[in-house]
């Protein structure tokens, strides 16, 4: 029943985001319209894929660091991506893909640095150091970014921030194809780690007694979740709340078993972002809201409602 509802919601969200938009497209022309084919379809699919990826990445990271506040961007990735984007503009890198590629590279650099910090105490990846390292690397990257923006001449540099918080405006079939090819690999890695992630919730020592290769799982989960997030940031900037709230909503409804939790977080994240983006395009038309605002406005009340029901029950 829960699954049927979630699948219906996901499909409905996708259909709605293709059918609805600020430009009036008559129902009969829906399949022949350039607006629908070139703009709405890729945008709806990209929203769903990015939202789903963020949901799964958030669920995986929350289990890994055993901290309910963990969010895919907490571990320094947004700072790294921002630095990459600003560098691309400051150095006048040419080409339409320069900005996303530089952001991806920046996120990967932050990821590598945090990962290296996480191994500081030896061969074991320490989740607490991952968290602290992530916050530190993120702050450091943000400081360098701000320094570049305030010192460099290029007037368009200030707009790097707009890009970073930009959401799904840049959606194209190229971006959809890229994510559709790239995301399944880390997604499958995370799904394959579902059982060890369940065990990890008991603590690292009990998990290893129960047969989980704790170190390998932690590395795989950290790298897969971060690679998912880095790709999401490259195509859509930093979109908040999906990766934080959706895993919690999924956990409150589906429980702590990751075999069910991860697919639910994918569908839930996808549906939330597709709906949020449709609303972002429509509610203040012809203007548009930043999609992160809408994900928070929808996600947080749903979360609060479930939290209340869950604590009362």
């Amino acid at each position: 029943m829960k699954w049927t509802l979630l699948i219906v919601l996901s499909v409905a969200a996708l259909i709605a985001s293709v059918m609805l938009g600020p430009a009036a497209v008559p129902l009969a022309d829906l399949l022949h319209s350039d607006i629908v084919w070139d703009l709405r379809m890729p945008r709806a699919l990209l929203a769903f894929l990015v939202g789903g990826s963020l949901g799964v990445a958030g669920a995986g990271l929350q289990a890994l660091v055993r901290n309910p506040l963990a969010d895919p961007f907490l571990l320094g990735l947004s700072g790294g991506a921002g630095l990459g984007a600003v560098l691309a503009i400051a150095l006048h890198l040419p080409g339409p893909w320069a900005l996303p590629l530089a952001a991806f590279a920046g996120a990967l650099a932050a990821l590598a640095l945090v990962y290296r910090l996480g191994l500081i105490g030896g061969a074991a990846l320490d989740p607490r150091i991952l968290l602290l390292g992530g916050v530190a690397v993120g702050a450091f990257a943000a400081a360098i970014t701000t320094a570049i923006v305030s010192l460099a001449d290029a007037a368009e540099l200030r707009n790097a921030f707009l890009w970073l918080w930009g959401g799904l405006s840049g959606a194209s079939w190229d971006a959809v194809l890229l994510i559709a090819v790239y995301a399944p690999i880390p997604l499958l890695v995370l799904l394959a780690a579902a059982r060890p992630l369940d065990l990890l919730a008991l603590g690292e020592e009990p998990a290893s007694y129960l047969g989980a290769d704790v170190e390998a799982v932690k590395r795989r989960v950290y790298l897969a979740a971060s690679l998912l997030t880095a790709a999401a940031v490259a195509v859509s900037g930093v979109i908040g709340f999906v990766g934080l709230v959706v895993p919690h909503i999924a956990r409150l409804t589906w429980g702590h078993r990751h075999r069910a939790l991860l697919p639910a977080a994918f569908l839930g994240g996808g549906a939330l972002l597709a709906i949020a983006d449709t609303l972002a395009r429509m509610v203040v038309a012809p203007r548009e809201l930043p999609v992160g605002v809408v994900t928070a406005l929808i996600g947080v009340p749903v979360f609060a409602f479930l939290l209340r029901r869950w604590t009362i029950a």
Binding site: A23, L39, R40, D153, R158
Partner: protein, 271 residues
Amino acid sequence: MLRRLPVALLVLFACHTTARPPDGPPARRIVSLLPSFTEILFAIGAGDRVVGRTQWCDYPPAAVQVPSVGEALPPNIEAVAAKKPDLVVLYNAGPNVTAAKQLERIGIRTVLIDMNRLEDVAPAARTLGRLTGFEPQADSLAHAMDRILDEPRPTPTTTLAFVVWDNPPIVIGRGSYLDELATHAGASNVFHDVSAPSAQVSLETIVARDPAWIAVLSDSGTPPAFAKRREWRAVRAVREGHFLLLRGSLFGRPSPRSGEAIRQFRALLAR
């Protein structure tokens, strides 16, 4: 002004002018912290009294010889004070209000002036004329600016959208100087219904409103990078390469050259 747009999105502007009646003699050492003010000061003949400018002040050529005090957003108080000015002219916006107070505290006279639209040029010229003692010249400039405003608006013969940023798409609305320029030049801005100076819109709205031209501020004279992006090619004007490339120095700010900007705008549209 357009350079400041992204900042304008972030900063809450204080919206009052605190031009006080001039007390004391005409200013002899002036630091001008906005390109439009620098242009006005040179236009009314007070150019040789300008001892400091922003790095953006690039007109007239003589202004470039004046030492720069930096980006001025917000102004570096010590760099401004080091020029020993007896008048600092600031754009009336949030961070500048604080800066003006600090300058006043060290005994430097300041004036905050609105400069967002075409109709702000004449009052600014009158204020600066009064403060510098070049009142007759300032009055004649103000009259010339008023005549531009009084001219009947031509019936629009074409449509355009100003795109100031591509991802997310940010366009110019009714509240902006650029919208006024377009109206005076005989083009109607397809986002004239947006009351703000600029706003984020979705790409499909631009496609649906189908402007004949995409106008961008560009000093390079080459079409913007987003022209090559696949999603932007859904916009007809982008597909057909109908870009109006406007030099920021002439078109990007209200100034004594606004009349010239309107004439050149018309010529570009007539091509």
